[in-house]
Amino acid sequence: MSYAYLFKYIIIGDTGVGKSCLLLQFTDKRFQPVHDLTIGVEFGARMITIDNKPIKLQIWDTAGQESFRSITRSYYRGAAGALLVYDITRRETFNHLASWLEDARQHANANMTIMLIGNKCDLSHRRAVSTEEGEQFAKENGLIFMECSAKTAQNVEEAFISTASTIYRKIQDGVFDVSNESYGIKVGYGGIPGPSGGRDGAAAQGGGCCS
């Protein structure tokens, strides 16, 4: 499938915050409460369009447990975007954000776009982290912020696409040398605007919104 750009994403965050579910909701538009826990890393991919350009997102979904960090760190390299996920119903997953961020800053390229996601916002009755706290953390650390629900699909599409928009804007602004793949961006040959057929193409939406 042809694309103008390929962006590599990585999804990080504590175990059980819903990383794999977010990915599945984004790529397959479904919520699967019962699934295998992630060992190592899993993949997902989807085409989106931004500014009428087909963009392929290649998304790496990592295992969350601390023990695996020495391995998952190697997956940071060459990622253009990161979704840093916590669970709004579990305070400790929010408390660990600083350590995740430190890891990301240390092992990813400096221009990586990081989106902070407070997942499971459908469970507001069990909320343990307020939206304001999430916003505050994002602001302090220069992250984009959004609360989502992988279950209801609320804001899932937006989270992935607004991250892509930010990366796309950075490209337009000349932040990246796109010929250097270590930034997690590949220039494709396609560059043909519009949906490019298949499941992925049909799922693609106009982007550039939701910032």
Partner: protein
């Protein structure tokens, strides 16, 4: 530094396997011969020599004396070497050792060549090399008689002196159909052997013989340059008959190593015996002789370049150089064996996979009180076929060494009841934690939370674990939490639930599952350590194995920054569990089959690493052809699920393990899981337990 390894060579399980292989191939070719010739003549001893001796270790005191015989039956010639009974010169040599070295009627059709050694001081000896590529340890003629031996062989079989090395005698018995096939394959050379003794007759050992015509397209010719021009070679390797010859050649690179190492072992013995420097020099020269075999282009020059080594350090480095040189050759040969060939090859040299062990056959392994009489034979049987599902409940505890093989029914039953109580005590430790206590016990809460999250994400699509409030999911939870108390330092780590799930599925019983899991964790615990040392040492060993078994692939990984082998992480951590997925039910069955094969530790404790190599080799041309980078490779391997045939991969792994031999074992650091840790005490260093 290689000393132990070399000394242990002859005690090696692979070596024992080669002996068995030798005797089993004897049975094959013998029956083949009978059916072809129709002769059933009695056997005639045509040569007999006493005090022919094997030196299994570097210690002069440890020698096994025996009787060497050549026996003629019909048109076939056999060689035997039987150690004397009841002559234990040294207590360290058991009857078992003697059996290991015994040569039981090897037909000359299975023998490739005989190398004669005539040291100026010390005994003459010969090294007999089989067509399978394996060599017997040197046979020392304490009372002389090598010349007579060779003359007798020549009288009754086809024997020709190598033009390149006057001490190498090539055996070629055209009676054997396999041999005939091989000989016809190398027809130009075979003809030259017959017509002109001045051309290379050790061609099988000297792939790079310079005078070989390029036109004959012989596999041997190409193999010699396999490293350089493997692209050109690939098209030639589709002929099954040629594959066979490649197999032989491949094995031959091993032979040279075997032979060299036995020689270097001899050198040390001479050294220890206090032989004069002159003798040492000789031994060094014979050491250097060997690399000529694979690198015959340079062979005329090599002897001139042999330095007179007087320093033992230099000798060591010298030996290492040889080793490297040989390894390179070995790799060159391996390079040719792409996945398709390997399949056929392993069919040839590996034993065919067998149906799983069933109840009736299982009963034959047990004595009247339920002890396994021959543990090794049982492991071997399971290695080649696995066990029927109904037997797993009984056999898995043995394979995991929770029950001892030599325990009786009664002992096992007793252990089960004792362990049940012990389990209840352990479980009670966390069950008795009150909500109030739990509030002040962060570690406990975190662990419990983590386990709760993971058990509902473990094999839930299997009927055994599906549905809401499935009691088996609760059992997974309880066992894992109990384990995290039993082994508090290790605690709980993701991946454990994947390992426990098939065990509970098989054992059903909670306490029994727990103790089997404990045994498995004794082996695999370091994989789940905070610093993942077990995983890192396995990934390291894997990279070393690929280096010796497929150096082009190794180089490719090196160039593409893939040497950390993280793409094999999941394979190793959960023992290929999600890798053999075809259909879900089948996946589980295959996982269990694979695990019980791995747990036998029959060929190697680390067969799983050879399974990794086998899978990588299977896809090597795709990986390299498509120029996969780290990301693409990781993605590719993750998505392999459902495309791997277990039996074929196991055969490949077996073949690779046999080929790598002790060099493969040397790639794997001591204490690498599932080997038990070197030091029990430092197994799980106290760690900060901020589980996320």
């Amino acid at each position: 530094m290689h000393e132990t390894e070399v000394n242990d060579l002859s005690d090696d399980a692979d070596y024992a396997a080669s002996m068995q292989q030798g005797s089993s191939s004897f049975a094959r070719s013998d029956s083949g011969r009978r059916s072809s010739s129709g002769e059933t003549d009695g056997a005639e001893i045509v040569y007999l020599k006493d005090n022919v001796t094997i030196h299994p270790t570097q210690f002069a005191s440890e020698r096994i004396r025996g009787r060497l015989k050549l026996i003629k039956q019909g048109t076939a010639l056999f060689m035997t070497w039987i150690p004397y009974k009841g002559q234990n010169s040294n207590a360290r040599l058991t009857e078992k050792d003697k059996n290991l070295y015994t040569i039981r009627a090897v037909p000359f059709s299975d023998i490739k060549s005989i190398r004669r050694h005539n040291p100026t001081i010390g005994w003459q000896y010969i090294i007999v090399v089989l067509t399978s590529g394996l060599a017997f340890p040197p046979l020392y003629f304490y009372n002389g008689g090598v010349r007579e031996f060779l003359a007798t062989v020549k009288q009754h079989s086809f024997l020709v002196r190598s033009a390149e090395d006057a001490n190498v005698f090539v055996v070629n018995d055209f009676q054997d159909p396999l041999q005939r096939t091989l000989s016809s394959l190398e027809l130009p050379r075979a003809v030259s052997v017959l017509n002109s003794p001045s051309t290379s007759v050790t061609s099988n050992e000297t792939p790079a013989s310079g005078n070989q015509e390029k036109t004959d397209g012989s596999a041997f010719d190409s193999i010699s340059s396999g490293v350089r021009q493997n692209g050109r070679q690939r098209q030639k390797t589709n002929d099954p008959a040629r594959d066979l010859s490649i197999q032989v050649l491949e094995k031959f690179s091993l032979v040279t190593r075997f032979a060299r190492e036995t020689t270097s072992q001899l050198f040390r013995e001479a050294h220890m015996d206090g032989y004069v420097a002159n003798e040492r020099r000789k031994q060094d020269q014979s050491l250097v002789d060997y690399p000529q075999i694979p690198a015959s282009n340079d062979s005329p020059k090599v002897p001139d370049e042999v330095p007179v080594v007087s320093d033992s350090l230099e000798k060591t480095s010298h030996r290492n150089e040889n080793r490297d040189e040989e390894a390179a050759t070995n790799v060159g040969v391996f390079e040719l064996v792409n996945c398709k060939e390997l399949d056929k090859l392993s069919l040839v040299w590996g034993k065919p996979r067998q149906p799983p062990l069933g109840p009736e056959e299982w009963a034959t392994f047990l004595d009247s009180e339920g002890r396994v009489m021959d543990e090794k034979a049982l492991k071997k049987r399971i290695f080649y076929g696995g066990v029927e599902h109904s037997l797993r409940k009984e056999l898995w505890p043995c394979l995991l060494e929770y029950h001892a093989y030599d325990s009786t029914y009664a002992e096992r039953e007793y252990l089960v009841s004792v362990k049940k109580l012990e389990y209840e005590t352990l479980k009670n430790q966390w069950q008795s934690i009150s909500p109030a206590q739990a509030r002040k016990f962060t570690k406990f809460r975190e662990r419990k939370g983590l386990i709760e999250k993971d058990v509902v994400r473990t094999d839930r699509s299997l009927p055994f674990y599906d549905g809401d409030d499935n009691p088996n999911v609760n059992l997974l939870h309880d066992i894992l939490l109990t384990y995290s108390f039993y082994n508090f330092d290790l605690g709980y780590c993701q991946g454990m639930s994947d390992l426990l799930s098939p065990i509970l599925f098989v054992m059903k019983d909670e306490s029994e599952s727990f103790w089997c899991f404990v045994s498995l964790m004794d082996r695999l615990g370091p994989n789940f350590n905070r610093d993942q040392n077990g995983m890192h040492s396995q990934l390291f060993a894997l990279s070393k194995l690929v280096e010796i078994l497929d150096s082009p692939l190794h180089n490719y990984f090196n160039q593409n920054d893939c040497l950390n082998y993280f793409f094999c992480f999941r394979w190793i951590l959960i023992q290929f569990k999600r890798q053999v997925r075809l259909f879900l039910e089948l996946e589980y069955e295959k996982t269990m089959r694979l695990w019980e094969v791995l747990w036998t530790h029959y060929l190697s404790e680390h067969l799983h690493l050879y399974v990794c190599v086998a899978i990588l080799k299977r896809y090597r041309s795709k990986i390299m052809g498509e120029q996969m980078d780290f990301d693409t490779l990781l993605k590719f391997i993750n998505e392999l699920s459902g495309h791997i045939d277990l039996d074929a991969i196991l055969r490949d792994a077996e073949a690779l393990c046999l080929c790598a031999g002790e060099n493969g074992a040397a790639c794997i650091p001591p204490g690498t899981p599932p080997s038990l840790p070197v030091e029990e005490a430092s197994m799980y260093p106290q760690q900060d337990d901020d589980i996320l």
